[in-house]
Symmetry: C2
Subunit: 353 residues, 2 copies
Amino acid sequence: MTDRFQQLLASIKPVDMNLSGAIQAHLDDLTKPLGSLGRLEEVAMKYCIATGTAEPSLAKKKLFCFAADHGVAAEGVSAYPAEVTPQMVYNMLGGGAAINVLSRQAGADLEVVDMGVNHDFADHPMLRKRKVRYGSSNMAAGPALTIDQTVQAIMAGAELALEAHAQGYDLLGTGEMGIANTTPATALYSVLLGVPVASITGRGTGIDDAGLQRKVEVIERSIEVNRANLSTPLEVLAALGGLEIAGICGLILGAASVGVPVVVDGFISTAAAVCAIKLSCKTSDYLFFSHLSNEQGHRAVMQKLGARPILDLDLRLGEGTGAALAMQVIEASIKLYREMATFSSAGVSGKND
Amino acid sequence: MTDRFQQLLASIKPVDMNLSGAIQAHLDDLTKPLGSLGRLEEVAMKYCIATGTAEPSLAKKKLFCFAADHGVAAEGVSAYPAEVTPQMVYNMLGGGAAINVLSRQAGADLEVVDMGVNHDFADHPMLRKRKVRYGSSNMAAGPALTIDQTVQAIMAGAELALEAHAQGYDLLGTGEMGIANTTPATALYSVLLGVPVASITGRGTGIDDAGLQRKVEVIERSIEVNRANLSTPLEVLAALGGLEIAGICGLILGAASVGVPVVVDGFISTAAAVCAIKLSCKTSDYLFFSHLSNEQGHRAVMQKLGARPILDLDLRLGEGTGAALAMQVIEASIKLYREMATFSSAGVSGKND
């Protein structure tokens, strides 16, 4: 397993920036003032570079919603009880969750991945069973996961990406469901990006002031308790992460290894992306950050990463909702790139000179 | 004509805020943490209030791209020659402009309205002929339009909105094409919102520093020359506006009069929206501002209006491109409102209390 994990990391290739000249030349020949499509042009450029072509296609999109439970929920860090994790998985399988609505609108296929929900699900066409264990351990008392479990979860995510690539998907999106998971995500940010816990801890699904104070204390205690096992990004992810976070990290690494761009959802998914980038910095060239979460701390994280998310809609729901919305903007940029007339073909005059 | 214009203004009714309780109750019953869909919930609320129902539908969308020429182009305020206006209209009729791509993606029907292009077009199924005259006069030397011409253009836009309403369109979008039209738009903002010209004058399609200085001087001169005829919003629109701007203003007023929400594109369309709001302040309850334009000045205008646009993608193309993109976000919010499961129906637990 560890060998395959090292092979996965080694297989992520740097993108070919030499393509940028041809891509920019095409963007500048489209019938519009130079640069007037703003960030849509940046998105098209990044997509082309990531997929390694100046003639991009974007026909098939898929969104994976990774679900898992968290032992740290026992510390009272979430406004909702842990049984909401399986309940919301059932809601997704029934088509009634927000991510069902938005992935339908985006024309993206949706699958829910059980990475470690504390519940046994029957088979369902939308459900992928990749359970590593029935939820993580309480990280405030020791490591959330073992290294082996973490690698197993990463590899499960990576294999889903490779499978999707083989099925012809051009663009993947991340999402998650897991009561209490802003707590491990915040711990990961604090350690991996060197940010004080209190400055980035937010209210998640809606805890009150006392809950927020408790959450900060639990995260600080978790980091302290696990201090001896935080030497590498993999150790950090094992000690302070969770199974859905590791699965998303793996999806990102797998997609990057085959040149498929990934749209990263919000606060939790970004924590998984930070793990992936720390494991292989080349990964960042394959990532789109979909939206600025309303979860306190996401703005600081985006600044640390030097990233400007595509949307800013005050979302704090997760599931992949921001990723599904941003997929439509990315698709718009590729449609413009492919379908607009050029100055020469349309007989439109250029600038006065 | 003036009687019908006064009737149009009088027919715009205030929205019924009493609906907000029922709408909020439904939003809060959807299977998500309270308020976690952020601005999508605000958008759904506004759409419901504007359309006067807690059970909204959004089945048919239409975008109108209004085109006209501007006498002030002779002052050298644009980077592109005036003949680009009809060339770009032909590009739209041929399906190759950015707005064609984005309205197709949004599932919105598109029509181009010739309000006053300095060119005679043959009939075309996508073209609506509403030409008032072959472009406006040079506002730096006197009024751009007469009051009668302005009212005629407004009423043409209003009638398109009424027709679309009769055809069952639920949501309309604005767009425009008219070389030099950031110049009249900036003049309108300066007078109607009381903002210094230099602080909001931008580079439009891409003029250089000398051109920018000239543009400021031309706008200031235009305001000075027309000073005696700037007593009412209608006079301001006539003296410093343009035919596509008046047409958009009319579309907004007409749509508001029948309770159809309008998605306002960028810098030019917002100037038309400001005219409409100054003519009838109730209009603002029917408007969505689609995006923050990269045109210098739009941010200050949005702050003056107390509005936060839906998107921020550094677009500065016009045509309705931002409106088409924002339509998809508005549609997402209505789909979520209509299609998500409720807590009771889905058997999902609520918050810990």
